[in-house]
Amino acid sequence: MRELQHDSKNSWLNYIFLIVLGLVMVYPLIWLFTSSFKTNADIFGSSRLLPTTYVWDAYKLGWQGTGQYGFEDFFINTLKLVIPTVIFTIVSSVLVAYGFARFNFPLKTLLFSVMIATLMLPNASVMIPRYILFNKLGWLDTYLPFIIPAAFATSAFFIYLMIQFIRGLPRDLDEAATIDGCNSFTVLTRVLLPLCKPAIFSVGIFQFMWTWNDFFNSIIYISSVSKFTISLGLRLSLDASSAVSWNQVLAMSVVSIVPCVLLFFFCQKYFVEGISTTGLKG
C-alpha cells in the first residue's frame, strides 16, 4: 500500500515536471507565432507573450516578398525539390533493402558492412568533390544534386531502416507467394510492400522533413533567387529586409515550419513506430 501511495505522489510530480518542461519546450515556438503579430517595439525588450498592438498584415506582406519572387515561389520550388527526392528515396531504399534483407549473394556481408559504414561517413568529407562533380555535370543551380543521389539510395539510414523492417516480416510470406508463382519482384510489390507501409511512411516523412529543412546543401547548390527554397528565401528576408518588418520575417518563419508540423501531427503514429521499432534492433 505504501508503495502505491508513493507511486501516485511520484506520478503527480512527474506530471507537474513534464508540464513545466513541456511549456519551456514549446514556449519559443509559441513566442514565434504570437510575435509574428507584434510591432518591433514589442518584439524587442518586452517579455510579454501577447502583442500590445496587433499587426495583422505581416503574413500577407511577408508572403509577397519585396520583389519578383515571393514565398509562393519559394514554396513551389521547395515542393519541386522535396517531392521527387522523397519519392525516389522511398523507391530506391525499398529495392535495395529488399535485396539485402531477402537475398543471399556473394560479398553480401561485406557490402552490408560498407553500407553501414557509409552511415557514419561525414557529409563534409564528400561534399567538395561532389560539388566539383555536379559542377562538371552542369547540375549546379538545379535540383538534380538532391534528386539523383536519392534515386541511387545514397542515404544509408533509410536503407537500414527498411532492411530492419523487412527482416521483421516472416519469410513464410515470400515462400508462399513464390510457391504461388510470384517472381522475386512481384513478391516485393504484392506481398511485402503493403506490409511495409509503416516503414515507408517513416522513410518518407523523415526524408521530407530533412530535405524541407535542409540549408547547407541548398546554400551550396542553389544560387538563383528564382530557384530558392524556403530555407534560402527565409535567409534572404532575414538579411535583406530592413528592420521595419521583423514581424514579416517571423511570420514567414512560422509559414515555413507549418508543413512539417502538420505532417508530424498527422503521421505521428507511423513516425514514432518507424523510428522506434525498426531503427534499432540488431
Partner: protein
Amino acid sequence: MKRNKWGAMGLASLLLASLLGGCSSGKSASNTSTNAGNAANAEEKVTLRFSWWGGEDRHAATLAAIEAYKQVAPNVTIEAEYQGFDGYEQKIKTQLAGKTSADIMQLDLPWLQELTKKGDFFVDLNTQPEFDASGFDQGFLDNYGMYDGKLAAVPTGVNAYCLIINKSLADKLNVDSAAQWTWDSLLEAGKQLHAQDSSKYLLLTDHAALRQDMVTMLKQRTGKQWVQEDYTLGFTKEDAAASFDWLYQAMQAGVYQPLGESDLFFGKIDQNPKWINQEIPIAPSMSSILPSLKTVLPEGTEVITALPVIAKDAKDSGVLVRPSQLFAVSNDSAHKTEAVKFLSWFMNDPGAAALLGDVRSVPPVKASQEAAVTAGKIDAAITNAVELGLSHAGLVDNAVANNSEVQKIMDDIVQKVSYGKSNAEQAADELIASLTSKLKDLQDRE
C-alpha cells in the same frame, strides 16, 4: 527631406574635375570594331538575370527601373536576384566558378580585383558597341574598371567614406554635429556621452567598419597603403600598436557599442536596434548606406553627413572614395549583347537615373547625375559626403590590401582588441606575423 539641387549640380562639375585631376588617364580603348556576333533578333524573347545586394530601398528602386525597361525592350525579361550583403560574396564566387552566374552582376571592388586575376569571367565592355561608356569619367573607369587592358566592369556610383549623423539625435545629446573630428576628440566625446548615459554610444559599427577605421589610421600615420602592391607591409609595429591602442581605449570607454551586440548586424548595420531606437547618433560608413540608415528612422529625422575622422598630422587623409560597387556582364552569358544593352541603358538613361536616384550613391555618369538631381532623388547629405570625399580623397586601395584573406586577418585582430582579449602590443605583433605569412602564401599562389 529637402534635397539640395544646387549642391548636387555643383557636384557634377566638381566630380569630373577632381577625378580627371586625380588620375592618370591610361589606354583609352574605346573601340567600336566588330559587331558582336549574335545580334539578337529584336523579337526574340530573352531572359536576363541581374543580381545585386542591398537594402530594401535599393531593391525597390532597382526593381522599378527593371520594370521601366520593359517599355524599352519588351522582348527582354529581367529576373532580379537580390539579397543582403551577407553571403552575397560567396554566392557570386560560387556561381562564377560553377558558370551559373547571373548575366549582369553587381560586384564589390575587392572581389573584382581578386576575380580578374583568377580567370576571364567578365565581358570586356570596350569591345561591345552596345555599351556607351562616354558618360563615365575615363580616369574613374581606368582606376577601377580596367583589368589587363579590358573594361571588365563599370562603377555603379561614386561612394565616399563619411560620418552619417542623426542630427536630430546629436543635437539632443549635445554632440557637435558640425565638428571635424580627430581621433582624440572623438574618443573624448564618446567617453563623455557613454558616461552620461550608459545606454548611449557615439558610434555605430560592425567589425568591418572597425577594420576600416584601423586601416584609415594606418594610412594617416604612414601616408602609405597598409599593405603594398608588392606584398610588403606599409606600416611598422609602432603604427599598428598606436592604432590598436586607440581602438582598445575607445572600446573600453564605450565610444562604440560592444562588438558582441553590434556584430549581430554585420553587413546590415541599419538593422541595429540601437540605431533604430535612436541611441547612437553617428554611423561612420560609406555614403551609399545612407538611404537604408535613413529609412529606419522616424519621418522628419534630420540626417546629415560629415567628413570622416582625420588625424591632426595625417600624412594622407585616408578618406576613401571609390565606386559604390561595380557592374559586370558575365562571359558565360548566353545573351551578352542584350545584357550589355540593358546595362548601358541602366547606367545612362535619364529615366532610369530618375528612378534609381541615390540608392548606389551618386551616379557616375554625368547626365544620369543631372537627371537624378532634377528628379529630386539625390539626398543632399549624400551629395555633401561625396563632395567632401572627393575634395579630401586619400590613397586608392590596391588589390592586395583588398584581398579577402588579408582583410580577414585584420578583422580577426580587430575583434580580439575590441573584446579586450588582446592588448595593443600583442595585436600589433600578431598582425605583422599573420600578414607576413599570409602575404607570402598569396604571392606563392600567384
